[in-house]
């Protein structure tokens, strides 16, 4: 998202050198696999010999155990607490937040969250829509642009890619106000894009990070393949569709993870351009809706809404763990 005040992942990967995120992910997986087998080829600071000495093993194992406990307390317990509170009557949560169901559990918070007042499911769906549309726009811009700049290479391509890279280092905040004005009065379309998904989708496409990432990936592809395809009479469109795209799965995967995580997490920009209109439940994502209703919703159902908004991404994370940890790690990195 262009207007995110949070550091986007772009620079991390760039700082790491070209294509590292793609190759790095693969090598991480390989190395981890190898290490699991204790093949001895791969290792960390502590050698196998050292690990066998009690003087090393005991304190190290203790530290690791403490770390595990800390991680459970910091990483897991807050989320478990939230899940618990979703099933706890409001007054119990307010008076004895750490007691476990002092007066029994209830489903009423959950029912209320899905009920007509909160309609959490609609906002969830909106969140998915926002992310899906932003993903499509980003993929289209990045792959077609990357293809043109890095494979077709028109003469003016250097200027274009220079201009793209120039925006890479620009803090998103500079764009906030002019971009907002652009959404209010778009050039060609005429009518305001406020309260339409386009207001989030279109600006998200202007991600220099995506374009650079894709360009570097394309640059690393063997050009002989393209030349061979050309010899067989493939034009630029067929080359793109039948050869380049199918080969781009890894980089598309990385762009996808970034696109979805960033759009999912963004607050400032959607909060500005999706104020609601006559039917907020048809347009606002969770990140905009939840703060808006915090003062007007009973506490129990509100916490249940927070829990629902948390549970689904966690399930997705656990299912696609590897993708997240390998690629998406950069997404939320170094925020504060």
């Amino acid at each position: 998202m262009t207007a995110t005040p949070i550091v986007s992942p772009e620079n991390v990967v760039l700082g790491q050198e070209p294509g590292r995120s793609v190759r790095g992910a693969a090598s991480l997986r390989r190395r981890m696999a190898r290490r699991d087998k204790e093949s001895g080829l791969d290792r960390g600071i502590v050698s196998a010999t050292e690990w066998r000495t009690p003087r090393v093993r005991f304190p190290l194992a203790t530290v690791q155990l403490i770390l595990l406990i800390l991680l459970v307390i910091c990483g897991l317990l807050p989320i478990l607490w939230l899940m618990k509170s979703a099933f706890t009557p409001t007054q119990d949560t307010l008076t004895q937040p750490l007691a476990i169901f002092p007066h029994g559990a209830t489903l009423s918070n959950i029912t209320a969250a899905f009920g007509i007042n909160i309609k959490i499911q609609s906002y969830f769906l909106n969140t998915i829509w926002v992310a899906a549309g932003a993903w499509v726009v980003q993929i289209v811009v990045a792959t077609t642009g990357g293809y043109a700049l890095s494979i077709l290479r028109p003469k003016y391509g250097k200027i274009v890619s220079g201009l793209v890279i120039a925006t890479l280092f620009l803090p998103a905040i500079v764009l906030l106000i002019p971009l907002y004005l652009t959404i209010l009065h778009p050039l060609v379309i005429g009518s305001s894009l406020l309260n339409t998904f386009w207001a989030v989708w279109l600006p998200s496409g202007a991600s220099a990070f995506n374009v650079v990432l894709v360009m570097r990936f394309f640059d690393s592809l063997p050009r002989e393949i393209f030349e061979a395809a050309e010899t067989d009479g493939a034009g630029p469109f067929r080359l793109f569709w039948s050869i380049v795209l199918p080969m781009s799965k890894p980089v598309i995967g990385v762009v996808t993870v970034f696109a979805i995580i960033n759009t999912w997490k963004d607050f400032l920009w959607p909060n500005l351009v999706l104020p609601g209109g006559t039917d907020p439940s048809s347009i606002q994502p969770l990140s905009v809706r939840l703060p808006a209703i915090q003062g007007t919703t009973e506490f129990g159902p509100f916490l249940a809404s927070l829990a629902i908004a948390t549970l689904i991404p966690i399930i997705m994370f656990l299912v696609f763990q590897r993708t997240f940890l390998n690629g998406g790690g950069f997404g939320g990195a170094v925020k504060g």
């Binding site: 077709l152 500079v174 906030l176 106000i177 002019p178 907002y180």
Partner: protein, 324 residues
């Protein structure tokens, strides 16, 4: 970045059956050489970047020199008056201080933690995945949800606030958390660190996995112990990524918005009003007598310029360190 020297485009769209002729100029030859195809492929990028990136960048410079409130727009008189307004606003200096304070605290608490944790985690032999998953969980939570949860539950300053209950177990008196000018900012940093550390840990873990094992083997041959290996092999190998995360964290924290906006609205007594929040208030909250987009844009350009200069100096200074 360029791996092949000859532009493929010069061959594109010119079927092999047609002898290639270096004819210049006519639109038809341009099309046949693939010029049109090139342009078509570039169109989404040019359109989106033109309207939503390059255009607004130019526009932001213009807006910063204007007095505008969505309705009426005039050139500022004198032309730099928006910048002057910012410098004369006592809240600006307060925001600079607050932002610096946030960045500093985040650096002290947030910067070393992921490095230490990642190094310990990388030595875990079993259930390593479990460690990563646990560390990464807070990152998966929607940031807005984290803030609302911490604000309304954990940071509740009453005796029934979760953190205060936990403190009472250790006979520590209840803390005001975000309800006091002294503790509000550290509280914001604590939540922000919790929310972000997992992502950084994963980056360091990846970097640690990429440390060539031969280096450790070699160090051991030289008789190095664990601490010496850590100091002479691991940390030097992490130096590059540490330098990058450092500057990224500075850039990120100097643009902190979500926490002060949702936790405290900049309070109490403006103790958490950051530069980003001030930009937002200038632009969209009329507490200074009408939205002033010009002043807001001027301040955002100043912030961008500061970050650009800071980064440039930083990379120049650290260049020699990162190359071993």
């Amino acid at each position: 970045m360029t791996t092949s020297t000859e532009p493929l485009a010069s061959r594109q769209g010119a079927p092999r059956t047609t002898p290639r002729r270096r004819v210049r100029g006519t639109p038809l030859t341009w099309v046949r050489r693939g010029g049109l195809a090139n342009l078509l492929f570039l169109l989404p990028l040019l359109g989106i970047f033109g309207v939503f990136s390059w255009g607004p960048i130019v526009e932001s410079v213009i807006i910063s020199l204007q007095h505008t409130n969505f309705v009426v727009t005039t050139w500022s008189d004198p032309i730099w008056s928006n910048f002057e307004f910012v410098f004369r606003d006592p809240t600006f200096w307060l925001a600079v201080r607050n932002t610096g304070y946030f960045a500093l605290l985040a650096l002290i608490f947030g910067y070393p933690v992921p490095i230490v944790l990642a190094v310990i985690m990388s030595e875990v032999k079993r259930f390593k995945g479990l460690f990563s998953v646990l560390a990464y969980l807070p990152v998966v939570v929607l940031p807005v949800v984290s803030v609302l949860l911490w604000k309304n539950v954990f940071y509740d300053a009453g005796a029934t606030g979760v953190f205060n209950i936990i403190l009472s177990w250790f006979h520590i008196p209840a803390q005001p958390w975000i309800q006091s000018t002294a503790t509000a900012m550290p509280s914001l940093v604590l939540e922000a660190t919790w929310a972000a550390a997992g992502g950084t840990i994963i980056i360091y873990l990846a970097a640690l996995t990429n440390v060539p094992p031969e280096l450790y083997d070699a160090a051991e041959v030289d008789g190095a112990g664990i601490w010496q290996k850590l100091w002479h092999v691991t940390l030097p190998q992490l130096r590059g990524i540490m330098l990058v995360t450092f500057i990224l964290q500075i850039i990120g924290t100097s643009q902190v918005f979500l926490e002060p906006y949702l936790f405290t609205q900049g309070g109490p007594v403006q103790s958490t009003t950051t530069i980003m929040l001030l930009i937002f208030q200038y632009a969209f909250q009329s507490s200074d007598g009408g939205s002033n987009l010009g002043v807001a844009t001027a301040l955002s350009l100043m912030l961008a310029a500061f970050l650009a200069v800071f980064s440039a100096v930083y990379f120049r200074v650290t260049r020699s360190w990162s190359q071993n």
